[in-house]
Subunit: 566 residues, 2 copies
C-alpha cells in the first residue's frame, strides 16, 4: 500500500461504507456540506454523547439548548457582524469567487489586504478559467444571513457562527440555577455555520459543522485551581515568550512555570486531553499550541489551540481561551441590562465613610410645604452627590425644584458594605466535533494485508463504533438465521447497546466489512448454537475467537466487560 494515496483510500472507504459522504450528491453535491450516513451518524452521536457526559459528570456543569437563528443585535454585540470576515476576490473573466489568502497561497492567514492585492496584481492564475484578472480583495462576512418574519416587520438574522452566544444569553438563568454561586459552567452542542468562500479539505473546513462549546464562569479573584495530571504532553508555548519552542511537559508543571497562565485554563487543557484519549485520538498526535500576543483577540489573556495531526497535517480541533469578562460585558452594554453579573461577598464586610446630603427640615419645611416630604426623601435616597450645589431636582409629577446650599447639609456617613457586583470571567473550551471525528477515523484506519489482499481495520475506541456488535448467522438455514435474529433482538433490548445482523455473502466477507467499519465484536451463530445456545465471539482488534454462552455474552455487553471473556 503506498502511503501517498492513503487519504483517497480512506475517503473512498468512508463514502462506500456510509460513514461520511458528500451531501446532496444526487444533485451534484454542495461543497462544504456533508452527510453522516447509516454508519457515521451513530459514530457522530456517540462521540457527542461522550463529550456531553464528560462534562456533565463534573457536577457543576449543565447543558442548554438555544436557537441557531440569531437576531442581528446579538451578533453585533459579540463582534461577529463587524469582524467575522475573510478577504475575497473574484475573477473578472469567469466570475468565480475565491478566498483571497488561499488564491495567493497564504496558508498562514496572516497577510493583509495590501500584500494580497499586490500578489493578485502580479499575475495569479484563476483555477477555474486560467486567466489572471482579479477584483481588489474585499472583506466578506462569513455568516449566513436570513430574515425573521415577513415584509416590513421582518428583521435581519444570521445562522449562528458558534454556540457560545446561547450560554451568554442564558447567564441569568444559569446564575439562578446555581443559586448565585460561582464557579459553574454550561455546555451546548449543535450546528454552527460559516459561509466559506471556497471550502476544501473534506471534513476540516465545512460550511455547516457540529460544535460543542463550554463556557465556564469564574470569579477572577477566586479561580478554581488545578491539581492533577502528571501525563507528559506536547506544548508549544507562545513563541514571543521566554518559553518558546516545543516542550514535553505535564500540565501541572507548565502551570507551575507560568507557561500556562491561568489555573482554570490548565484544568481545561487537561480535561480536553482526557476527552480526546477517551474517544480514541492517538496521544502522539496531539499538541497544544499557545497563541502569541498578536494572534490573540485583544480581550483574551491566554489562548491555546489543541492541534491534532492527520492526513491534512496539524489541524486546530479545540480552542481553549480565557475570554475574561469580554462577552458578558459587551452584552450588558448592548442589551442595556444589568443581569450579567455575579455577587461577591467580601471576606470581611468593609466599613466605608461616604459623603451624603441630608435635607435641612427647618428650611425646606416652611419653604416647600406640601412638597417638602417628597423632596426630603429624594435627597436622602441620592446614591451620588450632585456635582455642584445649587442643583435641580425633579419631582414625580414632573416639576423641577432648585435646591440651594441652605436647604441641605453635607455629612460623612458610615456604611457597611458586604460585597460587590462584578462581571464573571469566562474560560471557553470550544470543540470542532467534525474535525475530531475526522481524526478519530484517520487514526483508527489501518491498512494491512490478508492472504495477499488489502485488508483494512477501523480500530475505533470502545463506545464510538456505530453498533456494539454484529450478529452473523453462519448460514441462513437450519434455524441459524432465526436464532441470530432472536439474539440480535435480545441485545437491542439493552438500552444504548446496539447490534446489527448481517446475512450477506461469506462469513469472511462479513468479518472484513465489520472490521472495516470498526465493529468491535462479531458474534457468529452456527449449528452448535442451535444445540447449546453458545456462540463464537471474535474480537476485532486481534481476531481472537472464543466460545461463550449467549446469556453470559449479553451480560458482558450490558456491563461493558467483554474483554474479561478473553
Amino acid at each position: 500500500m503506498s502511503e501517498d494515496r492513503r487519504l483517497d483510500r480512506l475517503s473512498s472507504m468512508l463514502r462506500r461504507r456510509g460513514i461520511v459522504l458528500p451531501a446532496f450528491e444526487i444533485y451534484g453535491g454542495v461543497s462544504g456540506l456533508i452527510d453522516y450516513g447509516p454508519v457515521g451518524a451513530s459514530i457522530r452521536r456517540r462521540v457527542v454523547e461522550i463529550w456531553i457526559d464528560h462534562w456533565l459528570s463534573q457536577g457543576d456543569i449543565v447543558e442548554i439548548d438555544s436557537p441557531t437563528i440569531t437576531p442581528e443585535e446579538v451578533l453585533v454585540a459579540s463582534g461577529h457582524v463587524g469582524e467575522f470576515n475573510d478577504l475575497m476576490t473574484e475573477c473578472k473573466s469567469c466570475n468565480s469567487a475565491f478566498r483571497a489568502d488561499h488564491i495567493v497561497g497564504d496558508d498562514s492567514e496572516t497577510m493583509d489586504k495590501k500584500e494580497i492585492d499586490k500578489i493578485l496584481a502580479n499575475g495569479v492564475i484563476c483555477p477555474s478559467c486560467s486567466k489572471s484578472e482579479w477584483t481588489p480583495s474585499s472583506p466578506m462576512n462569513l455568516m449566513f444571513s436570513t430574515r425573521l418574519g415577513a415584509m416590513s416587520s421582518g428583521r435581519t438574522a444570521y445562522m449562528r457562527p458558534e454556540t457560545a452566544q446561547g450560554m451568554f444569553m442564558l447567564f441569568p438563568s444559569l446564575y439562578r440555577h446555581f443559586r448565585q454561586k460561582l464557579p459553574f459552567g454550561a455546555i451546548q452542542t449543535g450546528k454552527g455555520y460559516r459561509n466559506e468562500i471556497s471550502p476544501r479539505q473534506g471534513m476540516v473546513r465545512l460550511r455547516e459543522f457540529n460544535m460543542a462549546e463550554l463556557e465556564y464562569f469564574i470569579d477572577p479573584q477566586n479561580p478554581p485551581m488545578y491539581s492533577g495530571g502528571s501525563e507528559v504532553v506536547t506544548l508549544i508555548p507562545d513563541p514571543q515568550s521566554e518559553y518558546s519552542g516545543e516542550k514535553k511537559i505535564s500540565f501541572a508543571e507548565a502551570l507551575d512555570k507560568n507557561i500556562i497562565r491561568h489555573p482554570t485554563v490548565a484544568w481545561f487543557l487537561s480535561r480536553t486531553w482526557d476527552f480526546l484519549i477517551k474517544v480514541g485520538i492517538n496521544s502522539d498526535k496531539i499538541r497544544f499550541r499557545q497563541h502569541a500576543n498578536n494572534e490573540m483577540a485583544h480581550y483574551a489573556s491566554d489562548c491555546w489551540d489543541c492541534e491534532i495531526y492527520g492526513e491534512y497535517g496539524w489541524i486546530e480541533c479545540v480552542g481553549i481561551a480565557n475570554r475574561t469578562c469580554h462577552d458578558l460585558e459587551s452584552h450588558e452594554k448592548s442589551s442595556k441590562t444589568s443581569t450579567l453579573r455575579a455577587w461577591r461577598n467580601f471576606e470581611e464586610p468593609k466599613v466605608e465613610e461616604k459623603e451624603k446630603l441630608f435635607p435641612n427640615g427647618s428650611v425646606i419645611g416652611p419653604m416647600l410645604r406640601a412638597d417638602a416630604r417628597e423632596v426630603a426623601s429624594i435627597i436622602e435616597e441620592m446614591e451620588k452627590l450632585p456635582e455642584k450645589i445649587p442643583f435641580d431636582l425633579k419631582l414625580s409629577d414632573g416639576r423641577t425644584i432648585t435646591i440651594t446650599a441652605d436647604m441641605v447639609e453635607r455629612r460623612l456617613e458610615t456604611i457597611t458594605v458586604n460585597g460587590e457586583w462584578f462581571t464573571p470571567h469566562v474560560i471557553e473550551p470550544a470543540f470542532g466535533i467534525d474535525r475530531i471525528i475526522w481524526h478519530i477515523l484517520d487514526h483508527a484506519y489501518e491498512e494491512s494485508q490478508k492472504e495477499g489482499e488489502p485488508y483494512t481495520y477501523l480500530r475505533l475506541a470502545k463506545g464510538v463504533s456505530n453498533v456494539d456488535c454484529i450478529v452473523l448467522p453462519l448460514f441462513d438455514k437450519d434455524g441459524m438465521g432465526d436464532l441470530a435474529k432472536n439474539y440480535a433482538q435480545q441485545i437491542n433490548s439493552i438500552p444504548n447497546i446496539r447490534s446489527e445482523i448481517d446475512f450477506s455473502k461469506s462469513i469472511g466477507r462479513r468479518y472484513a466489512r465489520a472490521d472495516e467499519i470498526g465493529i468491535p465484536w462479531a458474534i457468529t451463530v452456527d449449528h452448535t448454537s442451535i444445540e447449546d445456545g453458545s456462540v463464537t465471539i471474535r474480537r476485532r482488534d486481534d481476531q481472537v475467537q472464543i466460545r461463550a454462552e449467549i446469556g453470559d455474552l449479553i451480560g458482558h455487553l450490558r456491563n461493558k466487560t467483554m474483554d474479561s471473556l478473553f
Copy 2:
C-alpha cells in the same frame, strides 16, 4: 388553585426553573424562538435519546445526519418552494404583518384566499394599531432563505423545513448499507425551520423546532405486516368514510376492519403509541385522527395525525403518512438519476419473448468493411427497436451510417427476466419533539397544597427528568457537605446517570424545588451518614422515605431498580 390560570402558572414555573424560556430575552426576545435552559435542555436531550433508542432497537432502522442548509433544487423537487406557503396580509396603517387565516379567526386553516379577503374587507381590526385597512392576502413562502457562497457564484438555499429530505437524498447509501434488501428505515433528529408570520402558543408554533422523522422504505407488493397490540385507543377515522365518528378500538382490529388502510401504517401507529407512553404522555389524552381524502396530499394514501390534549386543546404532535413512491420519484426526476430504486426478484423468473434486430453479416461485411464489426455490435446491443427502418446509427468516432432493411434481420428472442427495478414506497412517522415535550410537561405538572401553601410536582416519567437524583446534605457542616459531594461524584461517574447537589436553604425548600422540576429521587446525607454510610432516599411520587446504604443505592441507580428498595 383556579384552573383558568394554570397555563400562566405552568409557563412561569418553566421559565423560573430554567426549563423553557423565551430566547434572546435580554434583547427583548424573538417570538417563535425558545431556549431550553439548564434543566430543560437535559429533558429535551433525554426525550430525543429515548426516541432514537426506540427506533434503533428495532434492528432494521439506522440513523443519518444531514445538513440543515438545503440547496434550492432539492426543495423545488420536494414541493416546498412551490407549495409551502401561508396567506399573509399587512396592515396598511401600521405595516404589521399577520397570517391572514389567524387574523380573520379561521383556526381550521381551510379558508381560501377569496373567503379571507372578503372577511378582511369587512372590517377586521388590526391588533397592533386598531385600524382596519388591509392589503389583499398573498402567499408567503415559509422557508428561511439564505445564500450559499458569495457574489456571482452564490446560490439560493433554504433552512430545511423538515428533516425527511436528508433520508431521501441518502437512499442509495441506505440501500447499500442494507445489502439491497427492503424493508428498512432511517431516522433523523435535528432542527427544522418555518418562518411563521405570527408565531404564538408557546412551544406549539415555533420558527425553529426540534423534529424527529423516520422514513421506512417498503416494497408495496410485500409490505411488513402488523401483528400485535391489543391496547384500546381512540381513533377518529376519515369523516367521509363509513367509519366516521370517534372509536375506542385496538390498532389490530382497526386494521382488520380497514379503518387503518395499510398494515405498515398500523405498525407505526402502534409504535408511536408505545413511545408516547414511555416518555410520560397521559394515555387518556392521545387520539389518532385520520385525514379525509380532501385533506391529504394528492400522492398520500393514508394519513393519521396523532393529537395530544393539553392547555392548548388537541394539538397535532405526530403525523404518520403513507407517502407512497412520491418523494423518491420526484427526486429521481429532478436529479436525473436512477439510483432511488430497489430491485425486486420475481417469485418465478419470467420468460419473455422480445423482438430484436440482428446484423445481416453477409450484407454489412462487404458493404462497411472496417466499420462492419462496430456496426454489428451496436445493433446487437440495442435495447429498443428503432421506430422505423431505415434509421441512422452513430459510430464512436462521430460518423453516422444509415442502416437499411436489407442490413438487418428482425427476430423474436426468448429471454429470462429474474426481477425488476421499482420505486419503494415510504411510510413516514414525523414527530414534533417540542410539542411532545410541552405535553410531557403539561401532563406531569400537578398543582397541590402543602400546609396551606401551593405546592407543585412535575411527575416526569423515569429517565426523562434532567437528573436522576439530587443529593442534599442536611447541613453544610460536620463533614456532611463533603460527604454529599463525594456521593454525588460517585453517582456521576456512572455513565448516563446524573446527580446534582443542592446546598441552598432549608431541606424542605430543597425538596420542594426538586419536586417542582421533577427529580424522582432525593438523597439526604445527615449525621448518621457520616457514621455508617447510610442515606435517606425520598421518592418524589409519594414522598415515602427509606434508609439505605450508599453502595446499595448506587447499584440500584445503575440498574434502574430504585423502586425495588421501597
